[in-house]
């Protein structure tokens, strides 16, 4: 069933690529159907998921690929993977539905989204280390073509920078993966087996180098400072729905990978370096927030808040990995927070980028100074933006708060000083989002926006789903936390 969740969008992508006469309507239709199937399958999986099962990965399906290397096409779920994969599946449905200028090539546009859908779900659902790398790498190809073909501004340059930068990251990660693989006995890429073996456990230097390689690779993707410079141009020049996927799904691959690979597979080494990783995370939090505050471009500003939010996630992971064998409750809180942050950031920033895309569709620019007083002109847009912005700055009652609360409570008992510094990030984010709301919707309405249209039904329903879930997680997080905790429990060793 999990295999089908990966294959159905892939089949849809191939079908659209080979179907020369498909109109925009058909293309979107195929897109919606083939992105809904995995979403439904994952919801069913959510129902079949057993909390407290003894194996870390459940519902595993496996077909051999390169038996000599011990690599296979294998899929399975744990609580963390399931939560992130379901978020990704939802975001793809929304991204395919959301209006954007397809430049006369709707077929290819939707096909690349479906390809990315298959790749992303594959990455979150796979339990094979090599396959994880395969999907990690393939995500670059899909996003490269989306940005370079349907972007605006200077898309070729942004797409090239994105591809080169992240390919460098993924290849460095490959070296780390191979170092882990060569340390296993018998050699295998099976994640459950690798985690059980804890390869390189006795070799501090080699394990440290493998950890460094993995963290650089995953850090570029997340991105954490100082590896974030590819992010702003890629986001600004990508079409709105592609930004949503980039921020909501692709960035998660980095942080999700941190939990799956270095955290789980190199525990000793991760513990030794956890403080350094936490420091880098705090730098990302504060620096990301400060730089975001300095941007006058709506999309750039949202892009930099992603650096800030991914910092929370990394901080949570680092805190959880800091003290293996003590204070399990706090570490579990931190790791749960990190996972919920991935879900929350996917929903919230996904929505924010869709909103930015709507501004581009209507106004053709992202400059904050160009807009103003739109609250009366476009009340639905104003409402949606307000909820998303408040969620992003961590207002209680919304998903971002649940995530950040867990992260900071967990971190306080491990790294109190770092947690205190990290709180600054929330403060700055609050200021910058309030400023965004003020500049976009309050003040005088410039004459050129007198005819500014409000959200169309398709936009309302897409944003509505994302924001409704944000509120739902905010007021009743239990259903999500139960599943996530099941994944974090075995990772903190309780």
């Amino acid at each position: 069933m999990l295999t089908a969740a990966v294959l159905v969008p892939l089949v849809g992508a191939i079908a659209l690529a080979l179907w020369p006469r498909a109109s925009e309507r058909t293309a979107r239709g195929v897109g919606v159907v083939t992105t809904l199937v995995p979403l439904v399958l994952l919801i069913v999986t959510w129902g079949r998921f057993e909390a407290g099962a003894s194996d870390p990965f459940q519902l595993v399906e496996r077909i051999e690929w390169i038996p000599q290397l011990g690599a296979s096409f294998a899929f399975g779920v744990d609580g963390i993977g399931l939560a992130v994969a379901a978020t990704a599946a939802l975001l793809f449905v929304v991204a395919v539905v959301y209006p954007a200028d397809t430049r006369g090539r709707p077929r290819q546009y939707v096909a690349w989204f479906l390809f990315l859908d298959a790749v992303s779900l594959g990455l979150f659902l796979t339990v094979d280390l090599l396959l994880f790398y395969v999907f990690f790498d393939l995500s670059l190809v899909g996003m490269y073509f989306l940005i370079s073909s349907w972007g605006h501004g200077d898309p070729k340059r942004a797409a090239l920078k994105f591809f080169l930068y992240t390919l460098a990251g993924s290849l460095v990660m490959l070296l780390g993966v191979l170092a882990i693989y060569l340390g296993t006995e018998p050699r295998t890429f099976d994640m459950a087996e690798v985690i059980a073996q804890q390869p390189l456990a006795g070799e501090a230097t080699r394990a440290g180098l493998a950890l460094l390689a993995l963290m650089i690779g995953l850090g570029i993707k997340s991105p954490v400072v100082p590896f974030h410079t590819w992010l702003p141009p890629a986001h600004v020049d990508a079409p709105g729905p592609a930004s949503t996927i980039l921020a909501g799904v692709l960035l998660k691959m980095g942080t999700f990978g941190m939990i799956r690979l270095p955290y789980a597979m190199l525990r000793d080494s991760f513990q030794r370096w956890a403080f350094v990783i936490a420091v880098v995370a705090v730098i990302s939090i504060v620096y990301g927030a400060l730089v975001a505050f300095g941007q006058r471009d709506l999309k750039r500003r949202i892009a930099y808040t992603s650096v800030n939010h991914m910092g929370y996630t990394v901080l949570g992971v680092a805190a959880a990995g800091a003290l293996i064998g003590g204070d399990e409750a706090a570490r579990e809180l931190a790791l749960t927070g990190a996972t919920v942050e991935m879900v929350a950031h996917g929903l919230i920033t996904g929505a924010l980028f869709l909103i930015a895309g709507s501004f581009w569709q209507r106004g053709g620019e992202y400059d904050l100074d160009a807009y103003g007083g739109l609250a009366g002109q476009a009340p639905k847009l104003a409402g949606a933006t307000t909820i998303a912005a408040f969620a992003s700055l961590g207002l209680p009652g919304l998903a971002g708060f649940v995530a950040e609360f867990h992260v900071f409570v967990g971190t306080f008992s491990v790294f109190p000083v770092l947690a205190a510094v990290g709180l600054l990030g929330i403060l700055i984010t609050a200021a910058l989002f309030l400023q965004v709301l003020q500049e976009l919707f309050l003040g005088d309405l410039p004459d050129r926006w007198r005819g500014f249209p409000d959200l169309v039904p398709r936009e309302v329903s897409a944003l509505g789903v994302l924001l409704a879930l944000t509120v739902l997680i905010g007021v009743w997080p239990g259903w999500l936390l139960d599943v996530v905790r099941d994944g974090t429990a075995w990772l903190v060793g309780s």
């Binding site: 051999e64 690929w65 390169i66 038996p67 000599q68 290397l69 090599l130 790398y133 395969v134 790498d137 393939l138 670059l140 190809v141 490269y144 073509f145 370079s148 073909s149 898309p155 070729k156 797409a159 090239l160 591809f163 080169l164 390919l167 460098a168 290849l171 460095v172 490959l174 070296l175 191979l178 170092a179 693989y181 060569l182």
Partner: protein, 469 residues
């Protein structure tokens, strides 16, 4: 004489002879019949190879001058398959050439040279194979007598080749001098007492000689010229097939050398890094797709040499060598196949908007280039994975890091072609050559996908396979 071990080579010789005779007695309009004849020959040779591979056991034959082991079989099949695709690319390109029929004969003989190099367990056979591959190679490069570029390519190929052949022969003579034998098996035993300086000189000279066919430093300079100037189907063949023979031949020769005496691993590692780096840097700003492919072939030789560095130190080295050769051959043939099908159009700017005008050809080009970069799930990914695993396993992690850096650089120039092909507006018309060249390119691209997805069976039986003698 146990002839049955070398039936595949004999089949190719007979096929080449038949093709040459048929070419002599056929009208010009009918000369294309030699293409199917050549394909038939290659298929027969492949059939015999599979038969020997299944029913025979690894051994050296013909007075221990010839190794018949799993690596030889794999190399033979790769050479035969690559030559078959090169044959399919040719008929439409050479339709009006007065010597169309003979082309396939020369092609078969050149492939035979590569097969000899791959199986050589005796320095004299190695020389024989290299000379056969070189001489036929010069002919193929300069096949368009009327084209200045083609003749120039052939001439440069010949000049570099002449020097490299002399280096190889001198090295072989020196090796004979210190060991008193040409066979690897006996030479390996006689090496312990050999004079070290002479041995090192001999090995260096032999490596230089083979680096020529390989397109590796320091005898790589012909590669971009041949890629640019030779007839495009011949360029596809020359950048691929001799390299297969040379890489396997070099691996076999070096693996007999005693390491304490001749530190050949670091030497090959340094050549590998220099080759991949130089090839990539030179390819960066090429505005000619064929030259770019030529330089990329140089850099790919560097990756291939990584497998040789690991031989004997990692049981993944042999699978890495073979998967690399298969992946490289298919990717390069696919890329050149697109050039052939586009009637040799070669400026990067000519590829703008190709995706709208000729979506299938653009897709083949994407598959070929991304496989050369090593993007999964294409064959090139499996090759790089095996190469990295083998080199790290053998304790040469720095070599793997150098290869990673080079891979990132290489993505840049491949995207210089692919990016505009997808984003630019479509040009007015993009004429193509015909059906067969397109099929050749398409088959190679499909092969890249198949080998990537079914990588398991490809390298089965090669793990820890002995490299004879």
């Amino acid at each position: 004489m146990p002839v049955e071990h070398v039936v595949p080579e004999i089949a190719v010789v007979i096929g080449a002879a038949v093709v040459l005779v048929v070419a002599m007695f056929t009208r010009r309009a009918r000369q294309w019949v030699n293409a199917p004849l050549a394909l038939l020959t290659l298929a027969a040779a492949a059939g015999f190879t599979i038969d020997v591979a299944i029913n025979g056991s690894p051994l050296t034959t013909m007075h221990a001058s010839w190794a018949v082991d799993p690596v030889t079989h794999a190399a033979r099949l790769t050479i035969l398959g690559a030559t078959a695709i090169a044959v399919v690319l040719a008929p439409e390109w050479l339709r009006r050439d007065p010597r169309h029929g003979e082309y396939y004969g020369v092609l078969l003989l050149s492939a035979l040279g590569a097969m000899l190099m791959a199986g050589a367990a005796d320095t004299m056979e190695l020389v024989l194979g290299l000379l056969l591959a070189s001489i036929t190679g010069y002919t193929l490069a300069a096949y368009h007598r009327g084209s200045a570029a083609s003749v120039e390519a052939g001439m440069k190929f010949f000049l570099v080749g002449g020097l490299a052949n002399v280096a190889l022969i001198t090295g072989v003579v020196l090796l004979f001098g210190v060991t008193g034998t040409t066979g690897y098996e006996h030479a390996a035993m006689a090496l312990d007492g050999a004079s070290r300086p002479v041995l090192v000189t001999a090995v260096t000279l032999i490596t230089v000689g083979l680096a020529f066919e390989l397109g590796a430093i320091p005898a790589h300079t012909w590669m971009p010229d041949v890629a640019e100037g030779a007839p495009a189907p011949a360029a596809a063949f020359l950048t691929v097939v001799p390299k297969i023979g040379a890489l396997v031949g070099l691996a076999r020769l070096l693996s007999i050398l005693p390491e304490p005496q001749v530190g050949w691993r670091p030497l090959v590692a340094v050549i590998a890094v220099m080759t991949m780096t130089l090839g990539n840097l030179a390819a960066l700003w090429q505005d000619d797709v064929r030259r770019l492919l030529g330089w990329s072939s140089v850099s790919q030789s560097g990756y291939g040499l990584m497998a040789i560095v690991a031989i004997g130190h990692s049981d993944r080295a042999i699978p890495a060598l073979i998967t690399f050769l298969i992946a490289y051959a298919l990717a390069n043939l696919a890329a050149f196949g697109v050039v052939v099908e586009l009637r040799g159009r070669t400026a990067i700017a000519d590829y703008d908007g190709l995706a709208r005008a000729r979506p299938w050809l653009a897709a083949v080009l994407v598959v070929a280039f991304l496989s050369l970069v090593g993007i999964p799930p294409l064959a090139g990914f499996v090759a790089k994975l095996e190469l990295f695993t083998a080199t790290i396993d053998a304790g040469y992690a720095w070599l793997a890091i150098a290869a990673v850096l080079n891979t990132v650089v290489s993505l840049f120039y491949y995207l210089r072609v692919l990016g505009p092909a997808y984003t630019a507006e479509a040009p007015r018309a993009v004429p193509v050559l015909g059906r067969w060249a397109g099929i050749g390119a398409g088959v190679a691209a499909a092969g890249l996908l198949t080998v990537g997805l079914l990588a398991g069976p490809v390298s089965r039986g090669l793990e820890g396979a002995p490299l004879l003698p």
